[in-house]
Symmetry: C2
Subunit: 458 residues, 2 copies
């Protein structure tokens, strides 16, 4: 059945390309109110695509913001149920003058299709729609599938948690197929099986009732910037480890097997430095850069401010200093623990007479997926067949909040299966997708569903 | 002669009070362009006062900003020449609704005259004018006097350095009498004989070419806020001493005699803390708070910024972090040395791959005046006679740039002789001057000139 579905898709590449361009021409920029109708039109376009493929119950479910496009095909009794996640909104296109061709006039140059959203993530969403169409053209889908495409990912998914909570029965599933993902390079497919969590804080130190004259008081009372600096400096030891008591207690250690797998990620340190524009690596002793960014937690300062920050000089001894800091967490760290650890640290280390206030902005857990689950095997095997090379496993340093939500609220893992590439320029000018990845993506999704069906039959 | 001059002044207190109110009613706010004419009118008012007292060559000397009121009386061959410094401009009066009576309608309540500029420093300038009038009424002034009253002190004296340079022959003198000063309290006169200098810097640290995603890169490259914090934290040791190599090398040590004199300053530590609204003292071990703020150097952070400082959370690993920091210097530290010391510190301590840039905003030396010079003795003896109590000596933590300019450009010391008090509310609402201080001020200036003449005769 998958071979005929694949043939169906291959026979229609020209028509598909036209449809892909049509999809990309819709400026579904969720953050700009003048594009509100475009976002809604895009949702309708997807709904009509699903209906044409014979998906049931296709509808736009309202939220406080943009609707979720929902649909389902539950015609495979005994087979697993996959919830497909994606988003149909895109980032704004500015700076417009840095685009070589207009962001909403999709243009092909050397096997790449250039347009805003091509890679993030209309390319994956389109490949998904076409995989379903191709499979449905052969008969009932081999597994049960539900679609949940949101229109607010690029503005932080403000309505998603309420939606999941409200629709938890409707979207119940065995596994999530998250299409908002990428591969290592066009010649080397990869699967992200781990994501870091995030616990984000803001701290304010106060040492005086009001700003003081630095001449009059300098050298006689504490300076909040000194004090904040000392506290920040003490957060890491000479080995690059975070000093918060208990911070590493629950960290799931890397197994030799996993380290071996991560060592296969062909990411060179000097390329990493070049990408950052940095001159030196830094991190926890005893780990590679790939391990440091994916499999080990980190603590970073995201912002700092206090006193006079304008042009020139003002002789102020400030009353307050502030910082934003966040921990990137790995399995099995509990993001709720970090607040207590930071409190204990400030309690123990803030100097006498220094008042501090700690506020938590957010807390989301990291995620790690079983590399040997039937779902994962269906995905890796599909990639291997289509690309002709075994995929590597990667762990990403960032967080994908929807993955954490699904794990926390529904108790299900996500398979991150998408075909964007690191140099596609997402969020920037001249965003593009490598077109062979679009075609291979369709085939990968077809094979993923077929593999999953085969496993449940076997 | 001084007794008759004092009697002259005492006989005219009512008329003087009317004139003082007239002077204070002129809103000479140098920073507000709508008061430009008021500032100029005030300069003219002073010039006419000097002319009425028989001062020669009275004129408004133009500068790039407001004019300097100049005049001279050079009729005491063999006696020293005193350059009298003061300023006739005032701070803005806002917030207006916090004034109990209108800021430019001088009002007496319980021996205090309330008005903007009453204490900073029209009170001292007026006392000076009346002292001169009283002395001149008795005949030629007993010493040579030159007057230099600027109209831009409250905006940082932007034209003063050029003026001094251009008029250095005209204003040549043996000593400066700086009337922009204060006493400890109404019952305890004091003389400031030391001021701290200031060397102000801005530093920028860079660790990457552009801001990075903290999820993606966190834990693998250096964070400029961490690095800046570590460098700041290292600037002081556990004894509260500045760690910059060579920082204390040229500091003039306190003599037992001077420590004894400073111990007489009746400034309680808990009152100091209450004034700052701080909960704990801090500073260089082995020194009192009075010594720490006046006689020992200090290094303070005045501002810090970097990364995301808006509301909420942004997961950025910034490329840069910045700080403003300044050293308060005492005699005989050279403010030019600090730049080199900071450079050496960053050179030695900035981590590998961290780029830094250091910029100097300003550098002015501290000042210390001989407590036993004939000029100083003339001042202390005048205070002792008028107040009936020996004045104490104080060293101030702040800088008075004109004192440094006079020392650097003309090679002359300044005697800080003024009668403002710490609770006069200068720069704030309900500024006031204690009227007995105005009358005693007139007598003190008369006696100062007479003492000086007597010493040169003796």
């Amino acid at each position: 059945m998958s071979e005929s579905a694949i043939q169906y898709a291959r026979d229609r590449q020209d028509a598909f390309l036209d449809q892909f361009k049509q999809f990309l021409a819709m400026p579904s920029i969720s953050t700009l109110s003048e594009h509100r109708q475009d976002v809604l039109d895009t949702a309708e376009w997807i709904a009509s695509q699903l209906r044409q493929a014979g998906i049931d119950g296709v509808q736009l479910i309202p939220t406080a913001g943009f609707p979720v496009v929902y649909g389902e095909s539950l015609k495979a009794p005994g087979a697993p149920t996959v919830l497909v996640y994606g988003h149909y909104d895109v980032q704004p296109a500015d700076p417009l003058d840095e685009w070589d061709t207009a962001p909403f006039e999709p243009t092909i140059r050397e096997e790449y299709l250039y347009a805003r959203g091509a890679s993030d993530m209309k390319g994956q969403l389109f490949a998904q729609l076409k995989a379903i169409e191709a499979l449905a053209a052969q008969g009932d889908l081999p597994v049960n599938v539900k679609f949940m495409f949101e229109g607010e990912e690029e503005i932080g998914s403000p309505s998603l948690e309420a939606f999941i909570d409200q629709e938890r029965d409707r979207i119940a599933c065995d596994v999530v197929l998250n299409c908002d993902s990428m591969i290592h390079s066009k010649d080397l497919p990869s699967i992200t099986y781990g994501l870091r969590g995030l616990a984000y804080f803001e701290v304010t130190l106060r040492t005086a009732a009001k700003d003081l004259h630095s001449g009059r008081f300098g050298g006689s009372v504490r300076n909040p910037i000194h004090e904040l600096a000392a506290l920040i400096a003490g957060l890491h030891d000479a080995e690059g480890r975070v000093t918060l008591p208990g911070f590493y207690d629950k960290v799931r250690a890397l197994t030799p097997d996993e380290r071996e797998a991560l060592a296969k990620v062909p990411r060179k340190d000097d390329a990493w430095l070049a990408m950052a524009g940095a001159k030196a690596l830094y991190g926890e002793n005893g780990y590679t850069t790939v391990e440091r960014t994916g499999a080990r937690p980190a603590l970073d300062l995201n912002g700092i401010w206090g006193g006079f920050t304008g042009e020139g000089a003002k002789t102020v001894l400030p009353a307050k200093a502030h910082a934003k800091l966040s921990a990137r967490l790995v399995a099995d760290q509990d993001p709720k623990d970090v607040l207590g650890q930071l409190r204990a640290y400030f309690e123990a280390n803030a100097a006498e007479g220094v008042q501090w206030e700690l506020h938590q902005h957010s807390a989301g857990p990291g995620a790690i997926m079983d590399r040997y689950s039937p779902y994962m095997k269906s995905a890796t095997s599909a990639l291997a067949t289509v690309w002709g090379v075994e995929p590597i496993f990667t762990r990403e340093g960032g967080s994908v909040p929807v993955v954490g939500m699904m794990q926390q609220m529904l108790g299900v893992d996500s398979i991150m299966l998408g075909f964007a590439m690191p140099d596609d320029g997402i969020h920037g000018p001249n965003e593009r997708q490598y077109l062979p990845n679009t075609w291979r993506g369709i085939e990968t999704y077809i094979r993923f569903y077929e593999n999953l069906a085969g496993q449940s039959r076997g």
